[in-house]
Amino acid sequence: MSDYLGRKKATREALLEATDPTAGDILESGETEQRKESARSLGADAWDVMRRRPLFWVAALLALFFIIVAAAPQLFTSVDPRSCDLAYSRLKPSLKAIFGYDMQGCNIFARTVYGARASILVGMGTALFAALLGGVLGTIAGYLGGWVDAVLSRLADIFFAIPLLLGAIVVMAVLPITLDTPYLVVIFRIVLVLGIFGWPNIFRLMRASVIQVKPAEFVQAARALGANPLRLISSHIVPNALTPLIVVSTIDLGTYIATEATLSFLGVGLPRTIVSWGADISAASALGLIRNAPHMLLFPAAALCLTVLAFIMLGEVVRDALDPKLR
């Protein structure tokens, strides 16, 4: 009897215990929700919009995946992309080599994995370089106006008039890369060339954005409360003018990767000693190969397409999230 009572008491306590913490949890989560609500920035708002969109997750995960592949290709394949055996030349995809072998008998899967590094490095490096150069010059031109603006704008116009790809081909053809140039120097040179023809885009954007923000009342208010010009630019104008730069830089990143591949395809970009998608696509499109060994072209081209797509989609999602008018 007492045993029964004791058991009943225990059940009741267990029940209480089971309900009490839940009640506490609900309260607590409600509180944190409120706290989050009270400290919400533009970035947090954008994040809320983005994370509800499947497209963002697809693009972000894809981009992240390619960045990881670029950073640590040895995680994905143990095969050396440069150890080739002519006996395997043009073998079709099989279980042993899921992407098959190319003309020289190199493992295409390994080459595709290792080729990511060059593309990602060039894409990110160029996007960063163009954003920095265009962003800084654009801010200066937009803030100062007058003859500084006129000079910088005309300079940008000159570079803007030359198509990115054409300009890059000319420069790379005039100053060819030799086979023994170190890897990073090669990458750096391509970044430099693409960046020099890519910055006017960012420059114009940043200049317009700064001109738009500059007469805002909060900038004038900051001035009335004693902020010096450097302070005005760094904490009032630039943070409010940066959004378009972030969006367009992300979209441009994809374009730069495609342009690098085009340069390598044309034989003026990365030399054959460097494993890259562009060079592999070029090798795969030799006469007759497309019909006889389409896998040679398919896999590096697909990887290139997916990478470019990932960054362009990411840029679009970020733009949608940051633009309140599209919500």
């Binding site: 400290a39 919400r40 920035s41 208010a221 009335a224 409360l225 004693g226 904490s235 943070p239």
Partner: protein, 360 residues
Amino acid sequence: MTTHSVTLTAKDRKTAEFEHLLDVRDLQVEFRMRSGVAKAINGVSFHLDDRETLAILGESGSGKSVTAQAIMGILDTPPGYVTGGQVLFQGADMLAMPTKQRARMRGPKISMIFQDALSALNPVFPVGWQIAEMFRIHRKMNKSDSMQQAIRLMERVHIPGAKERYKAYPHQFSGGMRQRIMIAMAIALDPWILIADEPTTALDVTVQAQIMDLLKELQDEFGMGLILITHDLGVVANVADRIAVMYAGRLMEVAPVEPLYAQPRHPYTIGLLESVPRLDSKLGETLPAIGGLPPNLLAMPDGCPFNPRCRFATDQCRHGAPPTLVDLANNEIGRQAACWRVDDADVTTEGRLAAGGGQE
């Protein structure tokens, strides 16, 4: 009452060296545009004493805000240019100062609050951070000290839950609360002069009263001279010590509050007071208004700028140089008006009528 008062730096109040805290003399501002030169301010002179409240009253486009911007040195150049005059702060001409020296005065010496606090606050930073920035830059405080000061200031301007709201963004506040934040930023460095450019125009009536009370309270506590720019005659009556009435970039009348409301002397002021709705007006009666529009600054009328709208205008008013602001002869000290007919019987009678229906 002073439980959370902000620690003040003692102002060095040596008032003997200069006549007034702020002395604006013959200020001239013009805007050079493609369509011509607009003379926005034509020889404005007034002064502000320590702890005094001066209201600059006028309709839109009369040059109130431009005057404030010229004093602060935040006029957008081009198109705006200060072409003449002096702005003496404690006897030193701010217009003659090098840009850097002048910039250092903004904040600790003269500070300003704006009409629309939402657009006057940086949207990408939390409000507390923006207040704390004032201490970090000008007082070289570290992060936690400046945060403490900012929270204390937020409490001082009566923001409920200041600590929790330190990290909130401007758009998360109501209009009145935003204006309080703006005020907190403006008084952070304990300025000598606070210029408030239509601080309550964007707010509803109950909040207007709260903000004006707060400004008055802070003025007493911090010991500031206050220049209140407004077009609201009701706001002015309760708060100001003196009033300067502005029209088309000129001062029309300057007077202490009570005498001005008791008997306006300038026809423009008479018109303004007449157009205030009154409790004793009959039902269905049309509210009096000043006919016509303010003059185009690009094509000022000959003579007195108010003459096309003035019912007392004579030939003297329509031609030649406009009347200058002069001390009134047989009247109280500190009253000035710019009108040829200021002492004429019909103008003074109308003035008394406009003020209180003549029953006093």
